[in-house]
Each structure stands twice: as structure tokens, then as C-alpha cells.
Amino acid sequence: MRVLAAMSGGVDSAVAAARALDAGHDVTGVHLALASGAPDHSGRSRGCCTPEDARDARRAADVLGIPFYVWDLAERFRADVVQDFLDEYAAGHTPNPCLRCNEKIKFAAVLDKALALGFDAVCTGHYARILDGPDGPELHRAVDVDKDQSYVLGVLDARQVAAALFPLGADRKADVRAEAARRGLAVADKPDSTDICFVSDGDTAGFLRARLGDAPGEVVDERGEVVGTHSGAYAFTVGQRRGLHIGRPAADGRPRYVLEVSPVQRRVVVGPAEALDVSELSGVRPRWPGPVPAAPFRCSAQVRAHGEAVPATAYPQGDRLVVRLDAPLRGVAPGQAVVLYDSTRVLGSATISASAPAAGSTTGASRTG
């Protein structure tokens, strides 16, 4: 196969490209320039993600002896990922930009261009597996549960899964590092990237404040009583406990959590932990990495990249999806993705738009974002 290896400059994508090469594929490396740099005096942009990452990716391609190019997707990334991230926070949601990047950039813009240019597949260093099943390729969790990235790949559809290669899905990170060192790839001891790539110092609240501005408002409890103030509702996430700066303790003296974020009303609602429990999720924009289901089905549902998957029943309803959880789940924010699994297999996903509280919760109404 002719394989396009997306090379970030990190250790995983370098080893993934090397594995694709070992498997006998005709591999070409490409680094995606995603960060928008301000054009300088001469009209050239100085912006790659970071120049070091581009250089590291190029060096890895040199070591592997494969052709290497840089694709400038900064404009697409700014519009589809960064702006979406800001819009979602401004709407009081909690988006996952990595998921959006996989959906819109790596397995859409890049994959489409690669296929049009005559490539058969796009290879990345994601920790996930594609296994042959009776209905075609299936997306599965990685063997290394700590590194498993199937959650952020839950947005892929069947066509995208069919054209994706994840050569690292059966490996442990430590082994991948050792392999990189053995192969002479200088990125072997490069630290893992953990933060959001376009929030350079990891300060998401600061990033949002600089772009969304101050929007002071009130912090209220479930009964609507004002218990504090804030300088921008977007800085809060459902389930958050720390940094609420509430002067007065709750009547029962127990810790309070963010239950709801309403940027339009500039309101943050806080309450006790059990009010965070939800038993039903409504999702929009369902995506199916395999066959599109017509009838309700049993599954396990995961709402965070490194959260636990809990038993549930999913009810597909065209362009919507309802998920009923067997037992309540705590802290589910609109904007997060719910990814559905059958054991290790990813069945589908949707973006959470609303949740209904567990029976017996103190807040009566359903929450929407």
C-alpha cells in the first residue's frame, strides 16, 4: 500500500511510520503545520506547530529514508479546531479539541487529500487497534489501557477507519520508546505531549480569558441563592470543585461542585456532589466507526478520555443518540463526547448536548447546554 504517515515530531508517530515501512508499505512522511503564526514583514509566516517538532519529524523521516513534506493546515485548524474550542467554551460546553482535530483535520482534510493524491491509507501514532471483523475493519481499544486513545478516535466513521493504520495499538509506551532508541530515532526520549497543543503553557483558563474577555457574573446554589461571583463562566467546567471562591460554606457544610454553566446568563450553578449524578445522556452528531445501528443496543459508555466505561443502553434516533446509564455517572458536561464500546470495540460516539439527573437527585430539571 501507499501509506501517508502523519509525523508530529514525537516518538509515537515516528515509530508508527517505521512499522508501516517494515510492513512493506511505500511510506511518505508528512508533518502538519497547524499553528497560525503572524505573518512577518516579508509576508511569510514563521509558524509551524513548533519549528522543533517539524525538525524532529524531518529527522525521523531522514533516518527512515522516506520522503517528507510539510502540509500547511493552519487555516483549517484555526477554523475547525481552535475556533470551535472557543465557541464551545463560550456556549458553556466542555469540548475536546483532540477529538475535533481527529474528526476534521487528521482523518478528514489530511485523509481526503492523501486519498486524492493516490495514497491508500493514513498512518498515525495513536494507541488504538483496527481489527478485522465480520463486517469489515473494527476500531478497538489499545492493549495498553493507560495509553488507549480510542476515545479521541470515536468520531471516525467507517470510511475513515478503513483508511487508517494504527501500528502501535498492541504496544506499551515504554516498548515504543525502546524501539525508537533501537532504530536510532532521536525522538526516543522526547517527553509525551499532554496539554492542548495550541494552549502553549497549559493555562486553558488564561487562553480563554485572553480571547473571550471578562464576563463577570454570579455563582448561585441550586435554589438560586447567590453564593459568590466569577469573572467569566467559561472558565468553569461541570464537576469542578476547586477554584470556586465561594465565601460562605454550604448550609450542610459539604463541598460544592459546579452543576451548570450558563455563559449567556453569566451564571454558574453549584451544588452537592450527588446533584452531579446523571442517568441519561442526549447526544448530537452521532458517528459510527462501523455499521450504523438501527435498534437500541447494550454497550458501555465513556464520557472522558481517561474515564471509566459504564454499562448502558444506547437508543439511536437518526441524527441524535440517547444513552441510558445502568448506574448514575458523575460530572457530565455538555460538549464532551460519549463514546460507546462493546468490550474493547468502539461502536459509536456523539457529542453530549443534554443530560438528565439520576432519580433522587436534588435538582429536578434536566440540564442542557
Partner: protein, 402 residues
């Protein structure tokens, strides 16, 4: 394999390789006073004479540098500093819109750090500097102009600039003119003395010499402040131990390139015309950029736009077929941007993004052209399918060959 990127760098001439290889094992710093030093000095000075003779200059006018970029920086910054020291009003730096980044960025640096006021001289649709604009910009306030920099021939589209006319306009007011001539000597006649230029940049690797050797031809009596300080080896305006083997190979290459130029230029022009004609046969909506007149351009450059394509896709697909060309001047980060040269010529961004430069040189053959032409139609068709929405918009087209 077809190497059609000679404007980026051209293979070393075997004679230059032989000279360089013969000198590499020889010890000697040309500034040392003992016999080994004298031997090296002799090689350097003979090379300087050979270079001067090839480029129509006096030996004393040759300031050896490590690259064309260094020579451009030395000229732009050195002239600016020296002229401003003589008269603090001289802060205007006039550069053509199609200069190489070694000139444009050096000028911009002066604006950012040294109080220079950079004024960009516009070009016409074929990329030639607008002389009426040059006259107007200079005469607006001649006393405030520190220098003018207009290249001899453009590295992307190959358009030859009216350097002597620019010199005439500047000379009325005693303003020094620098020309970046790195693309010129192997392709068109170049003579420094008599050009009226104050300074001219040349480099070895564009004419069959090694990478890492260049020169600034600097008129006698032209004041210039140094960029590199140290031993003052080159007329006290450039310091650094001279690379004797590279200098000798540079001189050999320059002398042979100039000697063989008439025959080679005619051969390359014929190959280039064949490439352009057959490229348009293969891709009828392709457009040629630069001066259509053979007298107004370098003979070895064919610059074409392919509407609806991304240049980086074209380059990648051609590369996969063993055809090596360029989307413009290479950017260190490898991020393709629409060329400032094409944009300055008034070419819309979409068309600029879908452009390729094929540049021929002394090793180019009919087989290279045949190979490129054969690959073009399928590559363009595939690149069109892969085009991003922006470049998929119908291009505002000038008919092919216009």
C-alpha cells in the same frame, strides 16, 4: 530521474571538483606569513583574479564571502550603515518587490532595529521593476536614500531587471545601487565594471562551484561597514579565514561558466522553450509566468501556473516520479506559502499557490525535459482532485502563452 532545480543549486563542474579535491589536503591559512600561508595566499589571489576577469571586475573589487546570502546582507546593511554615518538623513532603503529574502529580510531587519525606512519598488506583470516608480520614489527626497537594491535577474520567474536604468536614476543623486546577481553569470552576460553598480552579489553553487563560497563585488571607494568583525581579511569589510579550496573551485567554475555561456544559454533556451510548449500541450490551461520575450529572461527558467492545483501536491507527485523541481524559493520550515514574487506581479493567490519552477542548467538534457513533460498531465489531474477548496475555485485565467 530528472533534476530540474538548477536555480536552487546546480551540480559542480568536474573541473571545479578536481581543483577543490587537489587543494583540500593542502595546509595553509592565506593570512599566515610562512611558506604554507604564502602558497594558500597565492591560490586565493590567482582565484580572485580569475573571478574578477570572469565577472568583468577588478581583482581588488572582489570581497570573498561564505555565501550569496552573506554578500546580500553585507551589501544592504553595510551600505546602509556607512551611508547613514556620512549623513544621518539617509534612512530610506529602496528594494524591489521581487528581491530574494536575503535582501528583503536584511532590509526589514534594518527597519526594525536600525531606524531604516524600507520602500518597496513595484514590478509589472512580468516581474520587472517599474522604472517610473523608481524615479518617483528617489526624486521624492533623494537626500534621504541610503541605497537601492534591485536584483540582476529574478530567481523564481527569471525576469532580467533593468539594472543599468536603475543605476542611471540613482547616479544623478550619488546613490549606491546593489544588485543580487546570483542567478545571472552562467546564463546572461554580466560585467561589474561599467555597470555603475556600487555592489553586486555572486555565489559559487549557482554556476558549478561549491556551496559555501560567494562574493560581493564592491566598487573601489564605496564606503561599507563590516558585518563580520575579526581579522579583516577582505579589505577590512569581511573577516574570516578564507576557504582556499572553495575559492579556487569557485573561480574555476565561474571562469568556465562564463566561457561556455553563449553555447549553453542557447541550448538551455531551446530546451526550456520545448518544455513550456509541450507542458501547455499537456495541460492547456497552464500559464507561463515571467517575461515572454527571450531577451528579458534567463534562458533556463520555465515558471508555470496550473490552475486548480496546490503547488505542494504537484511537487510531491513529481518528486515521487523522480522529477525534481520547486514551488518557488525554498523555505527553511518547508511550509509552502504563495510566492511574494508572483503576488508582487499581480498574480492572484490561488494561481500563485499552484505554480512550479523548472530550472535548467549545464547538465540538463532533452531526456530530462521529456520525462517532466510525460509526467505532467497525470500529476496535474491528480493534484486537481486533491486540491483544497480554496484552490479549487476557478482561477482568473490569462490564456496560456499570453
Amino acid at each position: 530521474m530528472a533534476y530540474l532545480d538548477h536555480a536552487a543549486t546546480t551540480p559542480m563542474l568536474p573541473e571545479a571538483v578536481a581543483v577543490m579535491a587537489s587543494l583540500l589536503p593542502t595546509v595553509g591559512n592565506a593570512s599566515s606569513l610562512h611558506a604554507a600561508g604564502r602558497r594558500a595566499r597565492r591560490v586565493v589571489e590567482e582565484s580572485r583574479e580569475q573571478l574578477a576577469s570572469a565577472l568583468g571586475a577588478r581583482p581588488s573589487e572582489v570581497v570573498l564571502t561564505s555565501s550569496g546570502t552573506e554578500a546580500d546582507n553585507l551589501a544592504v546593511k553595510g551600505l546602509y550603515w556607512a551611508r547613514r554615518r556620512e549623513d544621518p538623513r539617509r534612512r530610506r532603503v529602496l528594494v524591489s518587490a521581487v528581491e530574494h529574502h536575503a535582501v528583503l529580510d536584511a532590509a526589514a531587519w534594518l527597519a526594525e532595529h536600525e531606524g531604516a525606512v524600507v520602500e518597496v519598488l513595484p514590478v509589472d506583470a512580468v516581474g520587472r521593476v517599474d522604472l517610473a516608480a523608481v524615479a518617483a520614489v528617489i526624486s521624492a527626497d533623494p537626500a534621504s536614500v541610503a541605497l537601492v537594491s534591485v536584483m540582476w535577474a529574478n530567481n523564481e520567474v527569471g525576469t532580467v531587471q533593468p539594472v543599468s536604468e536603475v543605476v542611471a536614476l540613482a547616479a544623478e543623486h550619488g546613490i549606491p545601487v546593489h544588485a543580487d546577481a546570483v542567478q545571472a553569470p552562467a546564463q546572461v552576460p554580466v560585467a561589474f565594471t561599467g555597470s555603475g553598480l556600487a555592489a553586486m552579489t555572486v555565489t559559487a553553487h549557482k554556476l558549478g562551484g561549491p556551496i559555501g563560497a560567494g562574493a560581493l563585488l564592491l566598487g573601489r571607494g564605496v564606503p561599507l561597514a563590516p558585518l563580520l568583525h575579526g581579522g579583516g581579511q577582505e579589505r577590512d569589510v569581511r573577516s574570516g579565514t578564507l576557504d582556499t579550496p572553495a575559492v579556487a573551485a569557485f573561480a574555476t567554475a565561474a571562469s568556465l561558466a562564463v566561457e561556455r555561456r553563449p553555447e549553453r544559454a542557447a541550448r538551455l533556451a531551446a530546451l526550456r522553450d520545448d518544455l513550456v510548449r509541450r507542458a501547455i500541450e499537456q495541460v492547456p490551461d497552464a500559464m507561463v509566468n515571467g517575461d515572454p520575450s527571450p531577451a528579458g529572461r534567463l534562458p533556463g527558467i520555465a515558471h508555470l501556473s496550473f490552475p486548480g492545483c496546490d503547488g505542494d501536491s504537484l511537487l510531491m507527485l513529481l518528486d515521487a516520479r523522480g522529477i525534481e523541481c520547486s514551488t518557488g524559493s525554498a523555505c527553511s520550515a518547508g511550509v509552502p506559502r504563495p510566492s511574494h514574487v508572483l503576488l508582487a506581479m499581480g498574480i492572484p493567490e490561488d494561481r500563485a499557490r499552484g505554480s512550479l519552477r523548472f530550472s535548467l542548467g549545464h547538465t540538463s538534457t532533452q531526456a530530462d525535459v521529456d520525462e517532466a513533460v510525460a509526467a505532467l498531465a497525470p500529476v496535474v489531474e491528480r493534484a486537481r482532485r486533491a486540491a483544497t477548496p480554496a484552490s479549487a475555485r476557478p482561477a482568473v485565467a490569462v490564456p496560456a502563452g499570453a
